[in-house]
């Protein structure tokens, strides 16, 4: 150790250290990097499609029809693509638990392998948007400032300026986006689930989608001002000011005016 310490001022030391660091990073990446990108490309194997079809017939065909062409109660799934399946099933929205204004998020009913099999089957029915790669949805590679400008124009009217969500008509609502995984955010923009319109890559490019994900990634963690009261705007803030703030002021006035015992 002493020998090492003596050489730490050597002018070759930074180079050696840099090389070591690079080697370590590369090695760690090779070991720990998610292999899903590879898995996605091999996803369309015939076995997966077959397994997916079995799952589909058992769990989805009741509403979407045995050929996935849709029925009176559910839309056709031909051409919706793997991305739509990964979003709807991966967030637990499908299979739908009960009829209602919109399908709600709940714990996913299938594991990742089953979801990818289902996605492979639906993708085999007709060309549609594919599941994005991890690189496409990495918030650290996006520019949150550009993302904010795009979010403000395209998303904020329904999802609230910081993505806290908001009400639509007849019991429908735009959900809060803070807990949604980057991949599901990307897939939602790409496929336009339920009430949400479609934002295809020609409208908001793949890089711009990543910018938006980077912006959402920055929201909902901490508010510089302290309590954000849910970030839902004048209702919660007004209630706080009128009930708690004015209540304290009235209490102080009563105390000042009361006689001391």
């Amino acid at each position: 150790m002493k020998a090492l310490a003596a050489r730490r001022h050597d002018r070759r030391a930074p180079v050696v250290l840099l090389l070591l660091a690079l080697l370590l990073t590369g090695g760690l990446y090779a070991v720990l990097a998610p292999t899903s990108a590879k898995a996605e490309s091999s996803v369309a194997s015939a076995d997966d499609v077959k397994a997916g079809e079995k799952l589909f017939q058992a769990n989805c065909a009741t509403c979407h029809g045995p050929s996935a062409a849709g029925t009176a109660s559910a839309p056709s799934l031909i051409g919706v693509g793997a991305a739509a399946v990964d979003f709807q099933v991966g967030t637990g929205r499908m299979p739908m638990q009960m009829n209602g204004p919109q399908a709600q998020v709940k714990p996913a009913q299938f594991d990742d392998e089953q979801i990818s099999q289902l996605a492979a089957f639906v993708a085999s029915l007709g060309a549609g948007p594919a599941i994005p790669t991890d690189d496409q949805v990495d918030p650290s590679k996006g520019d949150p400032a550009t993302g904010m400008a795009l979010f403000r124009t395209n998303c904020a009217m329904c999802h609230n300026a910081v993505g806290a969500g908001g009400a639509l008509s007849r019991g429908k609502f735009a959900p809060n986006l803070w807990e949604t995984s980057p991949r599901h955010l990307y897939e939602a923009m790409l496929t336009g689930p339920q009430s949400m319109p479609v934002f295809n890559d020609a409208n908001i490019t793949s890089e711009e989608k990543r910018d938006i994900i980077a912006f959402i990634d920055e929201q909902g963690n901490v508010s510089p001002g302290g309590l954000d009261l849910g970030s839902i705007g004048p209702v919660s803030e007004g209630l706080w000011a009128w009930v708690v703030g004015l209540g304290l002021l009235i209490g102080a006035a009563v105390w000042i005016g009361a006689k001391s015992s």
Partner: protein, 346 residues
């Protein structure tokens, strides 16, 4: 108290009516605990001492927080800094306020005192003298005799308020040219481009169910003329592609030619009070205004299906140019946004 008692009261009051109620005087003085018990007095003193000490500690805490917790660059550090500074400031000020009031209420004497008000009315002699001075002045000015002077002074006094009223009224609204409300910068051949980055839109980019937030391609020129925001505020458009089968047949007479293969473009400015209408529900083709929940049916000529808006959103007639880009056929054929006096209602 029974009804009988009440009538008895009235009779008594009638028999000896008083002009004024007697001053009931102060209620009996109730000594406080601290007035009789020296221990309680000492306790109240300690409480006041404590409150002022809280204030001192708050101020010290503020100074410490100012140096120890700078706002920094992250949201976390800003929140910590704001919380510490605000919390310390609250203790510093509340300590002084509550301490001073508690001191006054618990330690200073609380004997009720009355101070007689002196009469407001001057005595008769002074009043007569004042009237005499006024009469003398009026006679001396000869205002009843000198008619021209009387007219002049009245005119001067009556006209002067114009100097106050004119700027107040003249500055309302700044611009009285209502013609500006009737036109936007859309015209024949202007490309539809994306808000905010200004990339033009090809018809093939717009898949069914897509929504594009659109600005006119010529908006860029208005960066130099300085009216960029004014022009953008009038010209913003929402572009939607529906399955052509979903578009209702019973559109406005010109509606058929105003869309392109299921692509329709409508003004984004609500006809109620001008909020940006942009909450589009893909499945119902309904477009909601976030301000007052006016709902427009995009599949049916932006007909109002709910809410306070009176008119459908104006439609922008669109088509495609040789390169496949979406372009406007003309400006809107009616003024966008809310009503104004000179607007012809259709």
């Amino acid at each position: 108290m029974s009804a009988h008692d009440n009538s008895h009261d009235l009779e008594v009051r009638d028999s000896n009516v008083v002009d004024r109620f007697e001053d009931p005087g102060h209620p009996d003085h109730q000594p406080r605990k601290g007035d009789t018990d020296p221990k309680a007095n000492k306790k109240a003193e300690r409480q006041v001492l404590f409150l002022f000490a809280v204030s001192v500690l708050g101020t010290i805490g503020f100074v410490v927080a100012y140096f120890a917790l700078p706002p920094g660059d992250t949201a976390e550090s800003m929140r910590t800094s704001n919380l510490a500074l605000g919390g310390a400031l609250a203790f510093a000020l509340l300590g002084i306020g509550t301490g001073a009031i508690h001191w006054a209420k618990a330690l200073m004497n609380d004997h009720e005192k009355s101070e007689e008000r002196h009469l407001q009315r001057s005595d008769d002699e002074t009043r007569a003298a004042a009237v005499e001075v006024l009469a003398e002045g009026t006679a001396d000015s000869g205002i009843s005799r000198r008619g021209a002077l009387k007219g002049a002074v009245v005119s001067a006094l009556a006209l002067f308020p114009i100097t106050i009223a004119l700027p107040l009224i003249g500055n309302i609204g700044e611009d009285w040219n209502v013609g500006k409300l009737k036109h936007t910068i859309w015209k024949k051949g202007v490309r539809l481009s994306r808000d905010p980055n200004g990339r033009p839109i090809k018809a093939s980019d717009v898949t069914i169910g897509s929504v594009f937030h659109v600005i006119p391609d010529n908006l860029e020129e208005h960066h130099e003329t300085g009216d960029y925001m004014d022009q953008k505020a009038k010209a913003v458009v929402l572009l939607v592609r529906l399955d052509p089968r979903d578009l209702k047949a019973d559109q406005s007479p010109a509606g058929e030619t105003w869309s392109y293969d299921g692509i329709v473009a409508y003004s984004k400015i609500c006809t109620h009070v001008g909020c940006p209408v942009a909450l589009y529900e893909q499945q119902t083709h309904h477009l909601l205004c976030p301000c007052h929940q006016s709902t427009f049916d995009i599949a049916d000529g932006a007909r109002v299906v709910f809410g306070p808006a009176k008119r459908p959103l104006p439609q922008l007639p669109i088509t495609v140019d040789d390169e496949g880009y979406l372009v406007a056929q003309s400006d809107f054929t009616q003024p966008v946004g809310p009503s104004f006096w000179e607007r012809e209602t259709k």
